[in-house]
Symmetry: C2
Subunit: 209 residues, 2 copies
């Protein structure tokens, strides 16, 4: 390797290191904010939790508002990537919704701190961050509503307002953040199955009555 | 009226006045906590909002923790009273669930501050208050799950786990606190109807496929 090549490798390593550190900070602060609330958590708490100095922390995040925004964006980008990949896949509308419910339930159960902070602290974002977060939320709801609209148009779903139906599905599957506990009576597979059964047979058209 | 009678009336008036004042304080503080978060709100803010002195405020509530607990209990007692009255009524299980969904959606849409604070700030309660709130939540979910169990036993609903199905219904109908706006495209009647359609046909048994 020439000097130029090793410089590029070093730079890539630095970028990757920066990404990992930021990720660590987002994870630790989501955990703290989940426990103590946004106003109850200081950057000092986050630094102590990670054995960082506060100065080192400032190298990765601007301030507490920036941190809260990153938590929101991480949750929403994860959700949006999954929803878009499902929406663009070659599946029937019911299969897409089943995959969306399954993904939503598992994603929230695997990242309870991240999603609880997003669900609870959105009102604490700055106006600009709040707007960016709302945009992402709209993209997610829109993608699900389009799948439902498609299912209504092709006759697999009954006539319902696609947006309200999308919020119904989103609400039912997101609510697991409030009650699902991994050590509880139901596995996440069972929970996902029951949600899929109730929500999909609720949308599907062919009914005997 | 003798002295004794007018004393009783005066006492009743005092009690009623105390109840109204406490109610005013709970409503104003739910609004403030909704905007600024629990840690971001002080009793001083609540007093100023109501044109009370802080000393006058302390006559009605012990401290901020007491206030947060009262907000939670007011939301939960309202929800529990409705759920129990519906569960004990002479209706079929599907009609009971429809009434529950309709009540939940309207109740949350009419008291957005109260329910948002309950949904977001539960983790900020003291351990003792947290336990009391969890007890009330369990009573609500239990009452809904019993209606579903009854519907499964009598053959109107398909075989699903009643508790998970109760959380599905609770989640879908509670989620309106995040997205429903009275000035938006849908009336609360329409939203309630769509939720009832999707959730009830999802549970009901007779299906053509």
């Amino acid at each position: 390797l020439g000097l130029k090549g090793s410089g590029a490798i070093a730079r890539r390593k630095r970028i990757e290191h920066h990404r990992q550190r930021t990720q660590q900070i987002v994870t630790a602060s989501a955990q703290l904010i989940h426990q103590k609330g946004f106003h109850g958590t200081t950057l000092q708490d986050v630094a102590e939790q990670l054995d960082f100095t506060k100065a080192a922390l400032y190298y990765y995040v601007h301030d507490k508002q920036d941190l809260l925004f990153r938590i929101h964006m991480q949750a929403l980008e994860m959700a949006l990537a999954a929803v878009e990949s499902i929406a663009q896949s070659e599946r029937t509308p019911p299969d897409k919704l089943a995959a969306f419910i399954d993904n939503q339930v598992r994603m929230i159960a695997s990242h309870p701190d991240l999603f609880t902070v997003y669900f609870h602290e959105k009102a604490q974002l700055t106006a600009e961050h709040h707007e960016a977060v709302t945009q992402k939320e709209r993209q997610i709801v829109h993608a699900i509503a389009e799948v439902i609209r498609d299912g209504v148009a092709t006759g697999c779903f009954q006539q319902v307002d696609p947006t309200v139906a999308a919020f119904t599905i989103m609400g039912a599957s997101s609510w697991v953040y409030r009650w699902y506990r991994p050590q509880g009576r139901h596995s996440i597979e069972e929970v996902s199955q029951i949600l899929q059964t109730v929500l999909l047979s609720g949308l599907e058209k062919e009914r005997g009555k």
